[in-house]
């Protein structure tokens, strides 16, 4: 199996603090990676550093995507290359309707706003201001819709199942599966706290991040160990 995305010995400084320390992760073709870890482990920082988010500074290490070193490339370049991030809490965008947002993305990436809206059950939100007054589930469904409209080669999705009701999780999982189907590599990274999403998507690998380091990776059984013993027990 060939490696699609390779993160090597990554150190990331955010807010003047070293948050990610020597993290390593390879994502292969046909790889559905679940990244788990306790609060403050550095999962969000790790995803944001991979996509090149401003304020997340790589002090050492490398990020290789499709054999190209992206470590020093800006976020615009990495996104244009096909890496996308699904945010845990997207911001409210004053005066921008969900429809406007998806239309702008679909214009760039040639997709159908209504088809995406139907798939994510957000038709009723299309003409509302982006993020304003949305429930947790609605917010996540809209965020996954933006990812679908981006048509990324690989999506890095931050906690899609946190603060979401059961019905929404099923829809979100459907969206995540579609992101995998549409990825030329059929790969994705999903950060999850609770692993509720596993009821609907099976990971090919499960990795654990503790104190800024990806301490271990394994198969689905690792997930059950985490559920049984917790992160501390696993450590």
């Amino acid at each position: 199996m060939s490696i699609v995305l390779s993160v090597k010995d990554l150190d990331v400084v955010s807010g003047g603090r070293l948050v990610v320390r020597g993290a390593n992760l390879d994502v292969y073709e046909n790889d559905i990676v679940f990244l788990l870890g306790p609060n403050g482990a550095g999962k969000t920082t790790f995803l944001r550093a991979v996509v090149g988010y401003p304020g997340y500074n790589i002090s050492s290490g490398k990020i290789i995507f499709e054999s190209e070193d992206l470590t020093d490339k800006p976020i615009e370049y990495r996104v244009a290359k096909g890496i996308a991030i699904g945010h845990q809490i997207p911001p409210k965008l004053l005066g921008i309707k969900v429809f406007d947002m998806l239309s702008m993305l679909c214009k760039k990436n040639k997709c159908d706003v209504y088809e995406i809206a139907r798939e994510m059950s957000i038709e009723h939100l299309l003409h509302r201001e982006f993020g304003k007054g949305f429930s947790g589930g609605e917010l996540k469904r809209v965020e996954i819709a933006t990812l679908l409209a981006q048509k990324p080669k690989i999506a890095l999705v931050d906690e899609p199942d946190t603060g979401v009701d059961v019905d929404s999780i099923e829809i979100i999982a459907k969206g995540l599966k579609k992101l995998v189907e549409e990825s030329p590599f059929r790969s994705i990274i999903i950060v999850t706290h609770s692993a509720f999403i596993t009821r609907f998507i099976e990971p090919s690998r499960v990795c654990i991040m503790i104190n800024g380091t990806i301490s271990t990776c394994g198969d689905e059984n690792l997930l059950y160990k985490v559920m049984k013993y917790g992160f501390k027990g696993l450590a």
């Binding site: 996509v51 988010y53 401003p54 304020g55 976020i75 615009e76 996104v79 244009a80 996308a84 991030i85 945010h87 997207p90 911001p91 965008l93 004053l94 005066g95 921008i96 406007d100 947002m101 702008m104 993305l105 760039k108 990436n109 201001e129 933006t146 981006q150």
Partner: protein, 400 residues
Amino acid sequence: MGLKDWHSELREKAVKALDKPSPYGLDIDISQYLEAEEVGNRSKGLLDVSKAEEVGVNLNANALYIQVDQSYFKYLSRIPGVEVYRIEDFIEQKPDEAMEFAWRLIDPSTDKFTALAYLRGRGGYFIRVKKGSKVDEPIMACLYMSYKGLQAPHNIVVVEDGAEATVYTGCTIAPEVLGLHVGISEFFVGRKAKLRFVMVHSWNKVAHVRPRTVVSVDEEGEYVSYYVNISKVKTLQTYPKVYLSSNSRAFLASIILGLEDSDIDVGSAAYIEGDGASAELVSRAIARDESKIVMRAQITGGRMGKGHIDCRGLMMSNNSLIQTVPELIAKHPDVILTHEASIGRLAEDEINYLISKGFSRDEAISALVRGFATIDISGLPEKVRNYIETIEKIVSEKAL
């Protein structure tokens, strides 16, 4: 009281107020506008069609009022149930009715500008939408200044019980013309009637603008206003007031763009005077260059009802200034009044979010500014809505 006595009483009030400054905005010297030469200024009364179109006025509308300076007037209505007159013609033809409406909501002695408008103003429209008439097509008005001096039209809109209409007014000026515009507007919204009023201002860097507007909304009536300033102006001060009877509703939206050294003081006030009335005052200020914008909003709850103020300012320059002054005054225990206000630059978090979605930085900023300048207003006719979208685009482009 006869027309003559009525006029002399108003005139007396106005004369006494000629040195009474407005409580808000920069004070300016109006003495030059009182001079006789200014009254019948040497304007040729030529309308610049492109300027009228720039502020969205459809000159082929079926109900239309056009005024150039204080010397050229054209009006017509081919819409059943809609009357359009020049104000002097209305007063002359229907004096008893005129006295029911003219200067009823605005006292000529309010300040020096209302006084000046009474004494030296010419023209303005009288628009009446007859009882039960529901008019889809916007009634258009264009007030254009082609020549230096004063333009002080007196506008009256009467939407009778159960009637509905949209009045669209574009006010603009030729480049470099030094002038003072004082529009006096008195609107009467009848029982279960709806008035949607759109006003687009596009002035120049030497123009002074002092509109004075008061609206009365009868039981279960609705008044929706959309005001936008899209261009440079030397000074602009306005503070429309809306009086609400039982179960009536007002929604006032203002989008203010400050460019260069514009000094702008814009506000709106609503008075809940009947049970179940509601008011929402929404304003967006975008300050660029060295502009100064004060946004005022006040809701007074005298009866059981609801009011909400939403003021936001966007700083696009290090040298501009925005001040918000939201005020809530409760005079009844069952009135619920709320406000939210914020001023700042565009949030980096929002810019980065859009960049992470594949936008360039410039595209992200442009989309956010456009969003900021967008206020959703329900019930506007499609044509007006389309034009407002164009206006919002113009505002966001000029803001960048």
